[in-house]
Each structure stands twice: as structure tokens, then as C-alpha cells.
Amino acid sequence: MSSCQDKQQPKQDELSQQELISKKDETPSKVSIEFADNFLIESIKGGYRLELIDPNSHEVESTYELTYDQTKKGENVIHLPMKNLAVLSQTSVGMLSKLDALDVITGISNIDYVYSPIIKERFKNKKIRQFGDESNVPIEKIVESSTKLIIYSGFGSEFDGEGKLRKLGIQSIPNYEWRETHPLGRAEWIKLLGILIDKSEKAEKVFNEIKTNYEDLKWKVRDLNDQPSVISGNFYSDQWTAPAGESYMAILFRDAGANYVYESSKGTGSIFLPIEKVVADNRSTQFWLNPGVSNKATLSEMNPKAQFIGAYADGIYCYSHEMNQFWEMSAIEPDFLLADFIHIFHPKLEPNSTLHFYKKLK
Amino acid sequence: MIALKNIRIGYSDGLLHAENIELKSGTVYILVGKNGAGKSTFLKTLSKQIPVLSGEIDINGTSIGNITARELPKEMSYVPVHFPHMDYVRSREFISAGRAPYTNALGRLNEIDENEIQSAISTLGVEHLSDRFTSELSDGERQLVAIAKAVAQKTSIILLDEPTAFLDYSNKKKVLGILKQTAEQLDKCIILSAHDIDLCLDFASYFLIVDAETKELKLLQDPSKEEIIKVAFD
């Protein structure tokens, strides 16, 4: 079995044996988490303690020890530096590409949803495989690929086969980045990936740049008096599904200097509104974002009532510039996302800027 | 009335045959034969539910092959062995269905239809049943209602597949009596299959018997019980 062979001869490409020995006795410098709510990292001797927080209960869901000490054994011990990651969450792929570390990826969920040309190339050269999403993980294929760690989108429970994989020496970490409510909180998950692949410093650097950009942009619109109204979401069946007032989208709208119509609604997830209310509330709303479709023909086919929203004539935008790019990169590029929103809501502010993720519906 | 001309009937292999037989109006014919001898098949062939294999059946001078499915119900009515299972159909409504061959596309009953229905009800003496659901009737009552429907259909020929099968002795007698009376008074040709030879001998003088050996359908007038048994069952 290939996995046994790997165990006997651990690969150590960039880190020399000596560095590893010294790292296992040091306590690394402190990693501060400013915006993310769903994980905590504490520096301990030989590595870090990672605590994942359940996004619903806000309690610690699981604790991992990330350590350079290769002799340490235990259920939740992950040996650093980690190579060979199966990355089933698209946003984590985007973060790894920001770290220039796509070569650690052994597998992804589905090549059709990939934006990165490097991944596509590596897939073509059979260096990366498709494993599907966490609902149906092919255990034997993963073992065969000498994957050591699986990063997947966490929904609050283990995926089928997670325990079996652990017994085979393959760890899994759920990614709750998508449950973060602050845009910078999402991006901050890059710090965890940085630690896992021994690129902690680079991760800090990337994050700080994003943060600076984001806050500069936010500062620019802070004092604008003209705050256009915006609605987000679409009719699904007989209800309008929209982001709640304390959600990620709502925060982005506020930071971009717009007045989100349902800003005062409670919660960080979605709200559901009757068609009549949405039509009545939004007859003169100026912008409509994220209808989830890329052209008006499909939109009116899905929802004949769409035409009664004020923004229908000339104010609908969706992340349809390139969908895969949006899903892969938007979590780690909240500064671009914010720039897009400011471009949409305040076109006069930066007349020469262009849209990055978003596109106007025609 | 009905003329059988050298027919062979049944499904592909041919179950029974008959040479030339004439059946007259105003008469009850009892169809007798072993189980599986082809009594039902014969009745179904007469009512055009199954085609004749060879030969010809004439009804009132016309070959049944030339009578359309719309016209046949005006010449001949058929009472199947089982009364249909139906919820919420009142006897009178069921009897009214006998007028279907005469009503227009919307099925509206005119005065003539209403009169025929009423007279069928009184012929069978089922006035007291006419407002009851057929699903609530006894087997004997159902048989009378079924015959009333056939009478309302006002055909010169009535075929009945074992009308006495599920009846008790007194109801058998009653039904056979009514059929005889109907045939004579309304000048109809009635053919019914039955196993109650003793009883039938009291009511009818004409017997159509399937010969157990030769599979030939024979018409006997006033046969003795022994004669019937010899031909049909030995």
C-alpha cells in the first residue's frame, strides 16, 4: 500500500531535518485573530493548538494539535508542515493560490468549478485528482493519492468516512470560513492554511495587505451623503431569500456606502420575505445585487415579478464576470469585492476603475 | 331472429361449433354445458365481444359483422355474470344506463326514455329498489335490477350469463319466472346459461346444449333431464 510507504519515508523538501528539530522545541510567535469568529490559534511548544468554534453555538467544537514534533501521536494531532492536501472547499483553493502554494494540493472536489489556471494545468497533468464534495468522499482514491489532510466545507458534522480516514492516518479539518460574518473574518482563514503548510509569515503579510486595502476603501465612502438603496437575493419559489441585516453581505453593503433595504433585520444568515412585501418595499430601490443569474432573460423566466423591482431597468449586478473566480477568490479578496461594490454604488468616486467579480445584467 | 349458420367459435383453436340453428322471439333458451364447454364464449360471440371464427351469425336478417357497435345495443342486451361494483349508483340510474344507445351525445333522457325506464321497473317489480344504491342490494335484488336495465334497453334479444348463479332457490325461481314472462309478453328472444337443469325444465322448453363429446351446439325441444345430462355431461 502506497500510504504505508509514505509513512516510512516522510517527505521533507523545503524544510531541512535540522530546522524541523529546532522547530519542534520552539514556541512559535503568537498568531492573533482579529476578525474571524470560528477558529482560534494558540502557540504552544513545538507548534500550535487549533480550536474550531461551532458557528451556531459559539462553543469549541474540536481541538487539534498542530506540531512539528513528528513523534507525537494522538487522534487530533496534525504533523507540520503539512503536504498533500485534498482541498474540497473552493475558497481554500483560492487562499492557497494567494500563498503560491497550489503544489500542495493532491485533490479538489470538481474541476468544473475551478478558476485557477494552475490547478487546471495540474489536473490535466494528473497531479491533481477530483474527489467530489464531502457528501461522498472516495476513501480508497484519497488513500491512493497519498493525501495527508482534507480541508472541506464544514456543515457542523463529520462527513461519512471521516473516522475511517483518521484511522488510516488522514486528518480532516472542516472549513467554517463561509460562516464568518465579517468579510475580513473570511479572509483571515488564510492564516490557518499558512500555518498548516509552513507559510505563516506569508499568510500574515497577505492578510495585512487585504486588511489595509479594505479599510482604505471603507474610509473613502465613510462620509458620502448619497447612500443608494440596495436589495440582494432573489425569489425562490414564492419567497424572496435575502441576506439578514448582520450578515456578510449586509456588512459589505454598509462598508461600501449603500443603504441595504433589510439592514435592520436580525441574524447573520438569510431571511425569507413574501413576494408582496418585497415588491412593495423595493419599487424605487436603486440597485439589486446577487440575483444568482447572469442575464435578464433567465431572470424574468425564473421570476416574472422581477420587473417590479426598481432596479430592474438599469441596476442589477451579479458576480457573473466569471462565476468560478467569484466562488474561489471572493473570500480571500474582500478588498476587490468591496471595490466592486463601491464602483457600482458610487461610480463617480473612481471613474477609471473596472469591475472585478461583478457584471451588470443585460 | 337469430340464425347460426355453420359457425365455429372460441379463441384461436375453436371451442365449439354449430350447424344451422334458428332461434325465435318470444322464447327462452337455456344454454347448458360442462364447465369450460364454451357457454360464456358463445354468449360473448353472439354479443360481438369475440369474433366468429368461421360461419355467420345473423340477427334479424343482418350478419352481426355488419351491425355497428352503436347499433348492436339496440338489438341485443347482455347481462354479465357479475354485477359491477359501484359506489353511489342508485338502481334507477343503473337501469337508465340501458337507454344509453338511444340518447344523444350529452346523455339527456327524454320522455320516451323515462317511460321505458318506468315500464322496465314495473315489469321487474323493482319500484321499491329504485332509489337505493346498487351496492346495498342483495344478490337477488341486483339480478332483477340488471334484468330491468336489459329490458329498458328495449332489445329484441337478451343474453344472460348465469343469471341464477348466486341466487337462493326462491330467487332462482323468481328470476326464471320473470324472464319467461318477459320473453312471452314482450316477444323477446332470451338466451341464458344455467346449471340448474331441474329448475329450468319447469320454465323453458328449448335447450341449447353443448355436446360434451363432439363439441357441437345442439338445439333440443322439451328434452328430458336424462337426455340433457347424456348429451352435455357424458
Binding site: 425562490y236 419567497q239 415588491v279 416574472p304 | 353511489y88 344506463a97
Partner: protein, 323 residues
Amino acid sequence: MLLIFLLLLPVAGVVHFMSGHLDIGFGDLVNSLFNFDETNTQQLIAREVRIPRMFTALIAGAGLSVAGLLMQTLFNNPLAGPYVLGINSGASLFVAFSIMTGIPFLSSDLGIITNALIGALIFGLIISLFSELVRSQISLLLIGIMLGSFTSAIVSLLEVSSDASELKVFTLWALGSLSRIEFDQIPLISVVFILGIVGSLFLIKPLNLLVLGQNQARLLGLNYKRTRFVIIAITAILTGLITAFCGPIAFVGLAVPNLVRILLKSQHHGLLIVSSAFIGGIFVLLCDALIQSLENYMVIPINVLTSIIGAPIVVLLILRKLR
């Protein structure tokens, strides 16, 4: 009894109208029809949201109930219905094809209606062919259920191979909705609907005869094959039309005609058709009124509510039959 239905229908209509989210006065309703002012939000909502929704609930309930009645009588089986027999599935399959092939004509409104009608008709004919091959009523229902499963498998295959936006349109359609119909479409849809209902009224005589069983009906001069085709065509028109706009709605077609027969204790199809149409319309109107009044607390698709109410009714019917 008919008089009661006649009175109940406007009551259900008013209840439905009043269960909407916004307060809309009677005046706005009248104005929205005869003196429409597009800038008035109340009028806009009355005309473009509430009236079409009420209309849709009404024709969906009435049409499916009549279609169910026709199937039950044709197959002499009280548990038959367009949903159980897979006629809905036929419409769904063809709509799935039309949406997911991405051919513009096919995915237009007219394309979807046409495909739903054709799909319903083809599956209706398939089920009637099977009805000649199988003797037992249960077998036919099982075949209908198999047709349904088979179709949903094919639809899943189509889903896998279609692109995201087409898939989204189809998924939404399959959820079912009473809000798809637009005010301007009401006349066209009314014409098709009335065609179906009037057509079924011309079938009163054959339907009454079919109650006696197929064989008796034939012996009374019924042209069975032609009648069967016409019944299936009308069922396909009604089911296809409603499925095209509302998505699949379960149990209305099955439960309502049975309820009507029990209430009226009759098999006279003139009465049954009219009553099924009324009760079906009232039933779906009230279901949707309930959905609208719960909208602030929870989201219930119409298909879910009709199943929650309809399925127990059907179980009771079966128990009643077995007793």
C-alpha cells in the same frame, strides 16, 4: 349542494385576497382592474401579484381535481390521479428537456406549456396502454409510480449534465409556485383551462357509462378506445397546463374527487365535474391563503401543504375501502 359551493367559492376568494401581506382595499382591487395606475403600489400588487395568484390557485385546484376525476373514472380506480399515474411526471420530464436543452423556443413560456401538454399526453397514452395489459387496479398504480420514479431518475441525469442557470430555472420550477402566472397571461390560460373543463362536460355520458365497467360500457355502444383517447387528451390539457405554470402539485387530483363523491353520494358526472372543479378551487385557494398568512413565520411550498392535507385523506379513503 351546488348552491353551497357557489357561495363558498367567493368566500374562499375573499379569504385568499385578505391573507396577503399588504393591506389592500377593495377600491384598489377594482381600480387595479379597470383603472390601473402603475405608480400606485397597492394597485400594482393587487393586479400583478395577488389577482394572478388567486387565479392560479383557482384553476390549479379546479383543473387537477377534474383531471383526477377523469382518471379515476376511466381506470375505474378511486386511487388514480394525474400525479399517481405519472402524468405529471410526463409533463415534468418534457419541461425538464425544454428548459435544460437551452433551446430558446423550448424554454419560452409557450414552449414550456406545449412541452408539458405533449409530455402529459404521451405519458397518459403509455399508462392507458399498460391498462390494457394489466388486470389489477393496484398493478396499474404501481406502474404509474414506476413511471414517476423512472422519470425523476432521467430528470436527475439531465440535471447533472445541464449548466447552472438552466438548472436553477428547472429547480425553481420543480418546487412549484402559484406566483409564476402574470396578469397578461390570464386570458390565454383561461382559454386553455375552459377548453379542458368544457371538453370534460362533453364526456358526461361516456363517463357515466364507464362507471358500469369498461365492458358494460362497450356493450351499451361506447366507443371505448376513442373515449379513452379523448379523456386522456383532456386530462393532459388540464394537467399539462397547470404543471407548466405551477410545477407538480400532489394529492389535489386524488383527494378532491373522492371527497366530492362521498359528499354528494353520486356518480353522475355532470354533478361530479362541476363540484370537483368548485371544491378543488376552494381547497387550493384556502391552502394558499393559509400559506400566505403563515408567510412571516415559515415558508411552505404549495405542493408540501397539499400533500400534508391530501395524504391523510387518501389513507382514510383506503381504510374506508378495506373496511
